[in-house]
Amino acid sequence: MTTIKASRASRRCVAIDDLDVSMNEFWSAIAYIGEAAKANELGLVVPGTALEHFLDLRLDEAERRAGLSGGTTRTIEGPLYVAGAPLVKGEARLDDDTDESEILFMEGQVFDIAGNPVAGAIVDVWHANSFGFYSFFGPPQSPYNLRRRIETDREGRYRFRSIMPSGYGCPPGSNTEQLLTKLGRHGQRPAHIHFFVTAPGYRQLTTQINIDGDKYLHDDFAFGTRNDLIPPVERVSNAQEIHKAGLNKPFARIRFDFRLTRETAGAPSTVVHREHAVAA
């Protein structure tokens, strides 16, 4: 830690000198960081400045050097995870039936890189509602709405029913939005669904899928979109299929499989210890 601090201090001195940063500019930057921290926004500033994606790219490279390949692509965690969502075996319903938007069924399997199903893996899933808000953040929702942990069955299968999430923007007037505006950037994210996928002996996977067709799909302010994390969205309007699903209106369906790599000596850990919101 001391080495990191010394290195950063040295590089910052070089940058201040190279850029001829004025006293006012320097202290404005310090004040900005302080305000963002007070507002608990650093978890938003970090992805917005591409740092969280950069950390992912470094981890990709470290795994490549350790000989690891074939796992599902990772992407950013973002700042809105809440631990301790209800644990369900095999199949879950994520929504609390208060959101009238499009119904979404998502299913798939967890495999190892040889294609063997991973039974007992935990698919920890969370996403925004159709207004772009997460439970425990923003306007009140029922506890753990749109958050569950699903344990895969003996074939590695998981399945959930939920509602189609919406994309969202940085809070208006927030420190993050102010910074992005000054950089000529927007603060919008495309619709997406977050996952942690874990199983004993395997490396934790942190990832998301993006909802195909979103206006901001390839213009995510948080740089979270990766090309192989955009599964097709099937719109189901066939009457028989609707009936079979126990519904009375069309719905959307996504299939996505996860592939986990084995823990390997020499590869940095993918388990990240960072501050998370705690359910009240």
């Binding site: 850029l19 940063v21 400045t49 591409a50 050097r65 000054k182 950089l183 000529g184 740089f223």
Partner: protein, 36 residues
Amino acid sequence: MPANLIDKAAIKALAAKAAGLDNDQGEPRLKEVRRH
């Protein structure tokens, strides 16, 4: 172990986009600083 990614073209492009160098809006001085 350092990943030595900084000089790769993709990382430079990422940093430039993050700093808003791919658009002509915003504050040029802040963009210059962010690019570093």
